[in-house]
Every structure is written in C-alpha cells, then in structure tokens.
Amino acid sequence: MPAIAFDQVSKTFSGTRGQFQALREVSFDIEEGEFFGLLGPNGAGKTTLISILAGLSRATHGQVRVLGHDVVRDFAQARRLLGVVPQELVFDPFFSVHEALRIQSGYFGLRRNGAWIDELLEGLGLADKAGANMRQLSGGMKRRVLVAQALVHKPRVIVLDEPTAGVDVELRQTLWQFVSKLNHAGSTVLLTTHYLEEAEALCGRIAMLKQGQVVALARTAELLQRASASVLRFKLDTPLPPALAASARVTGRIVQLPAPNAQAVEDILASVRAAGGMAEQVEIRPADLEDVFLGVMEQRA
C-alpha cells in the first residue's frame, strides 16, 4: 500500500476574477519509506497539493489517501498518520515551546508524551529554549518548533513544505540530520523545496510540477542521466550572443550552458568570441538537478 496516493487530483479556485485551475488530474504514488521530492516553480501547485493532502483544502475532483485512508472520508485516521510542517512561519504567542508541544500532543489524544517531546527538543536543538515564549524566538527557532509540532504524534508520513526557505546553514543541517534519521527508521518523507541541491542530495525520487501538472516523475538518478551529459561553465563580462542566451543559466557573470560533446563546447566558445567576448575560467562539469529542472520547465513552456 502506498504511503501517499494522489489519484486524479484537480483543484479549481473560484474567485471574483474568474476561475483558476491550480491542479490538473495529478496522479502519483509515494511508497512507504521513500524520501520523495516535489519540485516546481512558484505557483506550480505544490502547496495546493500538500494542503489537499493535509485536509486544509479540498480537491475539486479526485482522491488522496494516506496509507489507505481517504483524507476526506477517513480524515481522523489520515491525519494521525500525517505530520505536516507548514510553509508559513506561524506560532501561538500565548504559550512556551514546551507548552505548544504538549498542547499539540493533546490534540492527538496523547497525554504521556514527555519522553518523545524531550527527544524532539534535543534532536532539533531546542532543549535550551523549551521554557521560552514563542514570541521571543528567532525565525529559525520558530521553524524548528514547527517541525517539532508536526512530529509530536510520531507520524509515519512526514510532509515538509519548503522547510528551509530563508533558514541558516546550521538549522538546515540539524533538520536534515534529524529527518534523515526518521526516514532511516522507516518514516516516509515528502519534501517540497526550491533548493535543488537539497532535493538532489536527499530525495530518492522526484516529481516536477508545472502549472498544476506533473511534467516529470522519476528516480533522481534517472533524471540526472536524462540531462545532457555535461555543462560548460565560464565567466563573461560582455553580453551573451542571443542564440546562446535562450538555453543559458546566467548568474551575474557566470554563464552555464548544456554541452553534450566537444563540438558543442567549441561552437559555444566560437560564437562568444565572434560576438567579441572573452570566456574566462572555463570548466566543464556534470549536469545537476537544476539543469534537469530548467530543461523540463523549458520543454513544457
């Protein structure tokens, strides 16, 4: 039985300015024990899909099941199995960290949860903040509490919606260590992120969403193979010739272009020179997930 099953999920929002279709017949399964990545540009429908999974939103058509439990008809069981870290940095200003976790346990009917709460506080580096009021915490600390709150009932399926957006390196590492440990112990993890190197490092399989549709779904290794074998990277002070600009990834002075073979490398450098430019610090590297991602997004444009 899949940990999460999305079956023909569509979602249409009706507003004052007409209708907007956020998801179009999204179908895929995530197996138990997987570390699964859900990628896509802003507005692709990632958060909408997760909201439907979590019961915060209702699908217009289709079904979602968590370990066989329908998220609408059998919502109580589905939510017991699911731990969701919301994207927004929300908190209840009335309570301390420890109280917030005890209250969250209570909602799930768990009374003697102290040992697990202590383990969460320890594992997420919150032990010395347990008595602090939520208002006094920094953004990073609030994010850790959100993770702890999502895990307080030991869910078998963990959903992290952009948990590392605007978060410092230390927290990212703490977070991934802890979540990987839970994954090794058998928990299924569904992650959405904008940091593609993170998805590449952590996720066994990846789905890419664009305009509410699944445009790629494969093992991370296969996706990487699918990309052009290598990438030519160089620095350039003059503008890129228009013919190259279309397929280039430009970050300030750094230009990166797919270059499957030696001929392609020569052609690129030749056209840069013809335009009066001088490529510096030239190197060739293997393609990464970001190249795949950009390739997939471009194809479907």
Partner: protein, 251 residues
C-alpha cells in the same frame, strides 16, 4: 481525556493568562454602571413592587456581562488564530468540526459565566446576593452564554479583519443587549417600543435571568426559555454546519 478537551483547556488558559483584561476589566465596568445608574436613578424608578432599582439593575448587568464576554471570547480567539495563521495547528489534527465546536463554545461559556459570577459577587454589595430561584439563574446564564458563544464562533469565522468583528459587536450585539431591558423594564416603554422589544431574543434571556433573582418578570420564564432554546438550536445548527463545511477556514 480526549483530544478536544485539550483544545478546551487551551482556550481557557488563553483567556485566563490575560484574566486582568478578560475577567477583571468587565467586572469593573459592570460595577461602574451599577454605581452611576443606581445613584442617579434609584430615587425615581421602581420597576417591580418591593424591588429597588439597584436590585433590579443587578441581574441585567450580570447577564449583559455574561453575554458580551462569551461572545468576545470565541470571536476574538478565532479571528486571532485565523489572522496569525496558527489555526493550522488545530486544522491538521484529527479533531472533527464537532470537537472544535464543543471546545470553543464551552470555553467561551466558561469566561462568560466566570465574569458573571464576578459581577454578581461585586454588585451584591449594592443590591444583595439573594436569589429567589437559583436554578433559573443557572439555566438562563448557561443558555445565554452558549448562544452568544455560538454567535461568536459564527462572527469569528465570517470576519476577515478585526474591524469587521468590531462592527458586528458594535452594531449587532451591543444594540441588542442595551435594548433588551438591562436598565429598565419594558413595561415602562411606549407600546411601539414594547412590541419591538418582544422581537429581541436578548430581552427573553435577560427577563428569564431576572426571574431567577426576584421570582417575577415581564413574561413567563418558561416562555423565555422556549425562545432561548429555539434561538440556541438554530444558531448552533448553523455554526456546526459552517464548521463542517470548513467555511473560510478550509479552502
């Protein structure tokens, strides 16, 4: 203990943490009304035979405080959670819409009744603590608190901003409480206004509650109870329905 009792206790803690503002302040306000109105009007008005104006005013003030605070608790808690976004912590749990309803309504009733007991204890210095029919006091106090707690949930769900909620409070709840006979018997009103008052469900709550103090009232307490129950069942059913739909909280 079940999951919803945690939500109930959390909601009680929420107002109790700031009890100076949520319990003590409304008691003080009621005492000020008592002091001023009874001082100005005690020589001029005798509403029921043998009942001083001060004594007459007391149950009205108590009930008004119960109603306003029950409404304020559920409505402000909900809108704060909606605006802060922390309502998500409840929405992600297995708690059903009924659990949500019990927790918010019962905690709002707890605040309303707590304030009511406080006002009764404080204003008793002016008008006496005697209750002729305490069971009626309890029934109308709890029933009225429940009705306003439900209305508070409705308003909290509906409002997107604090000023919409304030509008509901100032333009619906306040006029209905003030024009329900808190400060006077409607028998002292001209026919037209008397007729109009009979259409105000708040009038029956206050009149029935007052019956518990003096064993006399403008209309029969049984009739008032019937009106209260009909209103309560209708408003509770609507509230439960909207919660089940996830009105404005689940998209």
């Amino acid at each position: 203990m079940r999951g919803w009792t945690t939500l109930f206790l959390k909601e009680v803690k929420r107002f109790w943490r700031v009890s100076f503002q949520t319990v003590a302040a409304p008691v003080l306000t009621a005492c000020l009304y008592m002091l001023i109105f009874s001082h100005v009007l005690s020589q001029r008005v005798e509403v029921y035979e043998g009942v001083t104006y001060t004594a007459f005013l007391m149950p009205g003030l108590i009930m008004m405080s119960v109603l306003q605070n029950a409404f304020a608790n559920s409505s402000s808690s909900l809108i704060q959670s909606k605006i802060m976004g922390n309502l998500v912590f409840i929405l992600l749990t297995p708690l059903s819409h009924r659990h949500f309803f019990y927790a918010y309504v019962l905690s709002a009733m707890a605040r309303g009744l707590m304030v009511g007991v406080g006002v009764w204890a404080a204003t008793g210095w002016f008008g006496g603590w005697a209750l002729q029919a305490p069971l009626w006091v309890l029934v109308f106090g709890a029933g009225g608190a429940a009705l306003l707690a439900c209305l508070g949930v409705l308003a909290g769900l509906w409002a997107d901003k604090f000023d919409q909620l304030a509008g509901f409070q100032n333009f619906v709840i306040m006029p209905m409480t003030f024009l329900s006979g808190v400060f006077y018997s409607i028998h002292s009103l001209p026919d037209f206004w008397q007729g109009l008052s009979h259409l105000n469900p708040f009038f029956y709550m206050i009149d029935g509650f007052r019956y518990g103090f003096f064993a006399s009232s403008d209309v029969s307490p049984w009739f008032s109870l019937a009106i209260l129950l009909v209103a309560l069942v209708a408003v509770a059913a609507l509230t439960l329905r909207l919660l089940a739909q996830g009105y404005k909280i689940r998209t």
